[in-house]
Symmetry: C2
């Protein structure tokens, strides 16, 4: 529509300056419409007709409302804010006129002048992951109360991609930025540090946080599960996760597994790499197949997520392996599937939704000047949930 509106303006220039023909952008649509007409004087009329034919109208602005209501544009602007001092009747008149004219508020102008966008940028590894979706949803709900909207991007579990994404997002001038994870490229770190807005790292406890943190230790959470499995008598314990060369939360979980196993004096060699994250149910199943072939005597397996754990469970079912009698399974993330599948999954609840809620509260506190210069550190303590896939 802005594109279509352009010819109208261009044709006006046409009347005054013939040299504008040189401009390539001008030489497209309008010319065609005008060439059939040989009298330059009627160009404006033609143009208006053309515009009307195509139902092009210059977008309604506050100035239009002001004119039709008989007040100043500033008063119109005030009438749209709930707190501004405008008389009841003026406001009603303005809103009525706006409705009649079909006015749609133009936030791009407001954004520039007020230097506020009411955007909060958010990066997540994948849009198709119930855990991150939960975080985003509760974050979004929390921020909505203060009129903040989320600008979302996904990184495909790739820090280089994250860097590009962060750069893109910062151009939109968000009020704050929430990133998933605490590992970033050096340039991404720099971009975030220099952005001049609150930065919140989530789903992790970074060693050197950039700004605020709402997260938990992935390694520690898995360690707890290992401890529980060992105390339940399991000794030959395996781990199914993504490839080790990515800086993701899955890698931290894997590292936590290895450390915990070694602390118990056990063998930490039962590691199955299921490919680059995200690890799907299918990949979990495949990994389970490989695990059973490489280490048939495995007593328990911890998976990087409930999705891969469920996949592993189905593989056992296909092979007629009793869970947990012959092999125990643990997941991560407390997805809905883990609670309802048969047998139900032992897992770790990382409180995905709470991360979003806490992050939203943190952002609002910072933007409202509470928490002055301090940095927020919200540590979530994941819960071990014992269900039927382990004894």
């Amino acid at each position: 529509m802005p594109q279509e509106a352009r010819p109208f303006k261009a044709s006006l220039f046409f009347v005054s300056a013939a040299s504008s023909f040189a401009t390539p952008s001008f030489a497209s649509g309008v010319i065609t419409g005008l060439q059939s007409c040989d009298k330059l004087a009627v160009v404006p009329v033609i143009t208006i007709t053309w515009a009307k034919m195509h139902n092009i109208r210059k977008p309604i602005t506050m100035a239009d409302i002001a004119r039709s209501t008989g007040v100043s544009p500033m008063t119109v602007s005030r009438a749209f804010k709930q707190d501004a001092s405008v008389s009841q009747e003026t406001r009603e008149a303005v809103l009525r006129a706006a409705e009649e004219l079909g006015y749609v508020f133009d936030s791009t102008a407001a954004n520039l002048r007020s230097q506020r966008t009411d955007f909060v940028a958010v990066t997540i590894p994948s849009i198709n992951n119930a855990n991150f979706a939960d975080t985003v949803r509760s974050l979004s709900d929390g921020l909505a109360e203060r009129g903040l909207q989320i600008l979302l991007g996904y990184t495909n579990y790739d820090t280089k991609e994250e860097e590009r994404l962060i750069e893109q997002l910062l151009r939109r001038k968000p009020e704050a930025i929430v990133v998933t994870g605490g590992k970033h490229t050096p340039r991404a770190r720099k971009l975030l540090s220099n952005a001049g807005i609150p930065v919140i790292e989530t789903w992790d406890l970074p060693e050197e946080p950039i700004g605020h943190v709402v997260g938990f230790s992935n390694a520690l959470a898995v360690r707890e599960m290992v401890n529980h499995f060992v105390s339940s008598g399991y000794r030959k314990i395996a781990f199914i996760g993504g490839d080790a060369d990515r800086d993701t939360r899955g890698t931290d979980r894997r590292a936590g597994f290895i450390a915990a196993i070694k602390d118990h004096g056990l063998d930490a060699e039962r590691l199955i790499a299921a490919g680059p994250p995200p690890i799907s149910m299918r990949e979990g199943a495949n990994a389970m197949g490989r695990l059973l072939e490489q280490f048939p005597d495995t007593e328990a397996v911890i998976c990087v997520s409930d999705l891969s754990a469920f996949g592993a469970l189905t593989e056992c079912q296909r092979r007629g392996l009793a869970v947990p009698e012959q092999i125990a399974i643990g997941g991560f993330g407390d997805y809905e599937i883990g609670a309802i599948c048969v047998p139900s999954l032992t897992t770790i609840n990382a409180f995905a939704a709470e991360i979003g809620t806490k992050a939203a509260k943190l952002i609002i506190d910072v933007l409202d000047g509470r928490l002055a210069n301090g940095l927020g550190r919200v540590t979530i303590r994941p819960d071990l949930i014992l269900r039927e896939t382990s004894r």
Copy 2:
């Protein structure tokens, strides 16, 4: 940060106009800083100190880069576009200066002036649904090739909420808008029609489309499954879905089920309402429980989605009911879980990702002026996928 930057500017006004004390917004931060100083002449110095102390600097603009490079701001602007005519060395100098100064492109200004945001607004019912996530992902990937970014919002399966969301999104001046479903409030329809941008309705085949359509008939898809079930010998067929009072795709599927059943001269009374959408796995399981109590002789059940179907399946497993021997189950959406669970789910593949891809292509075609005034109508033909939960 814009907040923090304000005092700096305000204090400059302070020097010229004492009456600015009256402004409440001014009477906050800066005054405190200045009161300890009794010589007005040094105010600028104080201010700079204060600004430095808090590491506040006026954001870098293209004008700054222009100054430091010795070119005009316009040349700087051109240097950032890949197609603009700028000499190689000038461009390099500009980019180098930008890097050194830590410049971040301000799209809010570009948005206003160029009347382009490169946003495409998208509404989906829920952010936590793998089907819609697939559509959004492929849509996003498709649009990214032309530099378009998605502005996403979710409606909670509520048309009133959708109306609010659409209004919010349109204020951001997207280049196009993609909505899920073809049922909207009258006001939402009006907003979309008047927006002056391409409108794409998806996941449905609306009777009166607003603009373009990329979708399929939910009713027809379920009808095919019913037909298959009947031809397989099932007669007592039930449907598990959301409450009937919502205008959603689930309601269409339910309607398609009823119509198809009646066409076969069968009894369409085995309808279990599982609550307001979205229907979770848990709700699917509960609904299955109720179904088995109300209609114990049911031979097959079709669920509004794979999630509820899987929930239903687990309920059968908990009750020791053999699937498909004692009862057959059909789902909808071809979620990953349906392919991997044991037994695997008979379902309908609605090609969620393809909807996104096609919509992206459509949008780009329209924005690039191909498809002139025509309206796109991309009809997807869902696939019936026969797996182990039915014979």
